[in-house]
Amino acid sequence: MLNTADILETIGMIREENLDIRTVTMGISLLDCVSEDVNRLCDKVYDKITRTAEHLVSTGCAIEKEYGVPIVNKRVSVTPISQIGGAISPEGYLKLAHTLQRAAKTLGINFIGGFSALVHKGMTAGERNLISVLPEALAETQTVCASVNVATTKAGINMDAIRLMGSTIKRAAYLTRDNQSIGCAKLVVFANVPEDNPFMAGAFHGVGEPDAVINVGVSGPGVVAAAIRRAGDCDLSELADVIKKTAFKITRVGQLVASEAARRLNTPFGIVDLSLAPTPAIGDSVAHILEEMGLESCGACGTTAALAMLNDAVKKGGVMASSHVGGLSGAFIPVSEDAGMIAAVERGALTIEKLEAMTAVCSVGLDMIAVPGDTPEEVICGLIADEISIGVANTKTTAVRVIPAYGKKAGESVSFGGLLGTAPIMELKPYSPAKFVSRGGRIPAPIHSLKN
């Protein structure tokens, strides 16, 4: 039975509160493309991706029209490229990056994820070769996204890999200096990376996944903020209920789109990622939800508590709405992609230290943070190590997507346009972690990883 109030509520969410499906991401296994010959490998990769995802964009567009809910992005994630490239040369890996770019262009998708390496315990020659050309790959392609997993709760933290990522990030910033160092916006350093994440830049298709799969990321910070506003002066228990009910409704739309896309593409449904993903658009901000909950500004004392409650309520509401939940599933706090976060940084309310604390209770981590271009490599390594250790110690995913914007200083900003937004350059402590970082080796896995 359709009810007028329900119909108007749904339409209001879409029209006024920016409810959308953030991404329908098709994961594609490239394990069957392995070849010793680089050219043959590239041909097989191109053919497999373009064949498997041939109808992804048209199907996404059809679903969006029929249900009247925008599907903002249609994307593809692939098997971590280092796992299919093996010991091919750095030039071979670069060629693979260009192949991914070409496939993405043919399909009409806006990002392809999986130029990735999993090096949490050590590095193979192939993984080293891939990482060695990451900056070039990010500079020479537009839609290829890369990620490197440097730690897990089970394996501990690979500090050698973090050191390598420090120099890789700096070089990516330099090579894309004419374009606001945008290369770094397409590169994520992870701890406990999920294998079914539909969101970029960290998406890849894990080895335990089927040949192809449909994963969906929902959104809707504006819907949650509006529901909290309507709830008025209720106490926190009631507020948690309001958030849960809203998250349930948002996630049901995600589940509907995911199962419909899976059916039409004849591809198994994987997961719905229960994330609140902001965009720079007005009314689509996670920071504004926190402020709606009662904070004068995001970054004020109380921010971590509010975010923890929000994150928990979103999961509790969402989990019942979907048959399979996965990916990152939690509120995102990317600074440049969230109008409220940008405003909080600009007014001096939100610092990197507070953001780091916030990442202990929500999804991902230090995301889309711009720092001065002259930040020493070892400081970036220290920043990564701090964030990664939060993930390892708390058995959760954390990540760093930091942009040492070439030639820019604290107080300036970099603008990437589109969903990537504008990032104010944030100050970092000038003290050096160089000796600690240069010790290298591995930080052992925490005691609570021994669960068997």
């Binding site: 007028t4 329900d6 108007l8 567009c61 059809a62 249900y67 009247g68």
Partner: protein, 89 residues
Amino acid sequence: MKAVITVTGRDSVGIISHVSALCTAHNANIVEITQSVLSEYFAMIMVVEINALDIPFADFADLLAATGRERALDIRAMHEDIFNTMHHI
């Protein structure tokens, strides 16, 4: 299968007629209409059967949206499943 057509905007002559004409032209059977006009603001919800549509539903939705744009109205046609899924367990 049913779809929900919603029309919102400033009231003017012939809104229902335009929408119903499109439904008739493409064989969508109107099963329910509710409408209200509140201080010159027009809101209508129409439930239609879409099993016998003579064009794909997405194209039908596009036609309605285009008609809306011509008359400064917001017209949306959405498959009933989105409402059922969102509001019913």
